[in-house]
């Protein structure tokens, strides 16, 4: 039952006001700035260039390479997180021996500061003093260029992302698995369905809505990646691992190119919106069919 009491305004307005003031207002501010040519160093008075910043950006190869790098990291990392996370969640749900012990350990990484995790990763991936180097040198692979070669560095960043965020997938999928009705499985047992058939015929389709939500959240969050890359490679070598947020930071905070950076962040927003809407549109028919 919904009540209607004037006091409801007292309840909701503080939150609305804070969000309006801190997130909508800067948005308006940077939207208008993105149409200006405006630099602080060297100081040039603002001049209206309309879509000029956007046009420059779309012709800038560095923008496209940052967009590509971010997309690559996000999609590969989330794919691996989902595969590993779902697998571990299934195992935990089936009461694998020692399951209780695993739970705390499995939860840990997602609560740790990405900056600290990235520092730890730098130690692990150190080509001379790191434990990974020692382990691999037993197989004859000595002093691999983990963070100094573009492809290797990208792979390392993806590995760190998978390490840190798979726990989130495990947590969500585990919660989802526990809501599944048991009688369907009992019926399947009577039909002598194999474990493999049960998974693809029952578990996977029934977990599809939750899977969709988890992958969506992770994908959007992965696109924001910045701190891990900032500490691990700083975008290097060259600009091989530069992500969109890092690119915007370099332009805005190092060069103080205000109009350009605002346009860049709006292009980023547009890109995220396109990806989100496409994802939902692609998935909708599947989700509705199963209902």
């Amino acid at each position: 039952m919904m009540r209607n009491d004037p006091i409801k305004h007292v309840f909701i307005w503080p939150a609305v006001l804070v969000v309006l003031a801190i997130s909508i207002f800067p948005l308006i501010y940077s939207l208008t700035t993105s149409f200006l040519s405006y630099r602080l160093i060297p100081p040039i008075p603002p001049r209206v260039v309309w879509l000029g910043n956007y046009a420059t950006l779309l012709q800038e190869p560095r923008f496209w390479s940052a967009l590509f790098t971010t997309t690559l990291i996000a999609f590969i990392a989330v794919g691996l997180q989902y595969a590993i996370g779902f697998g571990v969640a299934l195992a935990l749900n089936a009461r694998v021996p020692g399951e209780r012990l695993f739970r705390v350990a499995l939860l840990l990484p997602m609560l740790l500061a990405p900056v600290a995790v990235a520092l730890v990763a730098r130690m692990m991936f150190n080509p001379t003093m790191g434990p990974l180097n020692q382990f691999l040198s037993k197989f004859g692979l000595v002093n691999l260029p983990f963070l100094t070669n573009g492809h290797w560095a990208l792979a390392c960043i993806i590995a760190v992302e998978v390490w840190q965020w798979t726990p989130f997938v495990i947590l969500m999928m585990l919660a989802g698995l526990q809501t599944l009705p048991e009688d369907v499985y009992e019926a399947a047992e009577l039909e002598n369905a194999s474990a493999w058939q049960q998974f693809w015929g029952i578990t996977f389709p029934m977990m599809l809505p939750i899977s969709a939500a988890v992958v969506f959240i992770r994908l959007i969050e992965s696109y924001k990646i910045m701190d891990t890359v900032f500490v691990m490679t700083g975008g290097g070598p060259g600009v091989d691992t530069e992500t969109l947020t890092l690119f915007a930071y370099q332009e805005g905070f190092k060069k103080f190119n205000l109009g350009y950076t605002s346009a860049l962040s709006f292009l980023f927003l547009i890109a995220i919106t396109i990806i989100g809407v496409t994802y939902l549109a692609l998935l909708r028919p599947h989700l509705e069919k199963r209902r």
Partner: protein, 345 residues
Amino acid sequence: MSGQGLTGLPQWSRRLVAVGVLAWCLITVFPLYWVVVTAFKTPPGVVGGPTYLPFIDFTPTLQPFIDLYQGIRGEFFRTFLNSTIVGLSAAAIATAIGAMAAYALVRFEFKVRLGAGLVFFLLALGGYLLFNATFGFTRSQALLLAFPIALIAAVVANRLPLPGPILGNEDILFWFVSQRMFPPIVTAFALYLLYSEIGRLGFQLIDSYVGLTLCYVAFSLPIVVWLMRDFFEAIPIEVEEAAMVDNVPSWRIFIGIVVPMSMNGLLATFMITLAFVWNEFLFALFLTNSRWQTLPILVAGQNSQRGDEWWAISAAALVAIVPMMIMAGLLSRMMRSGLLLGAIK
């Protein structure tokens, strides 16, 4: 719950699955073990190659932590304090006002006309441009003037019979949660410009407690509202109805009945928000420079300042990590009661 997936498997493949989970667990734990060990090593112990077991492979020392405390590698003590103060207060404020908003969205009916929303946006944007370009106010003055005007106009417009769809509680909730989708760089950079312009009016927000906390409150609110709504929906409404029959005012129902009943949820939400603020990097990077620097910034600066001094870097990373490790232990206890179950529906 045993019927799902594994009972059909023979014994050997059950073992295989267990080994797989164990392998993932080792991958998860090993890097953490590595930081802990490295933090107690001496410089020669690190450079000499990887060693694993304290007292057998190397002799542990407390020197990295003593260096840290004495401020040889940056003012760790004060930064730790900053992080704690900002984290606790931002999480507390966000949980409080977020819970209020979530409760309002669950129990009261709201109607917002889409037209009123448009009025707000157009007036804010137009008013800002008008004040700035025509009347010669500075950019921040123009924004601060346009904001209340647009807000009042939108509230008035909501009473008028404007054409267009009427948005309900679900839409307001979606608006809150969608704030989380925005790439933070969009707002972080704009907020930095806005704060520095307000600073020129004589009210310092950059590198200040108020500025940083306010920003963290705003960016935690979407999560808080989202999580708390599920907890409040799970509370049986009969208790509140009984209180209403006795004419207990709504705010006393909220504080006296609803809050105590959802204490677990509030606590979990508070901890999740605290973790988010504690680990946050981008906003702190833009909005602080010395006095109110937080731990992630100081920790991130470690490797660029002095190169690969892993013993000290490990100790620094450990300071940032350990409070959250303790919280993970606490959270996992609550998780057992299916706490986050509602959040994903």
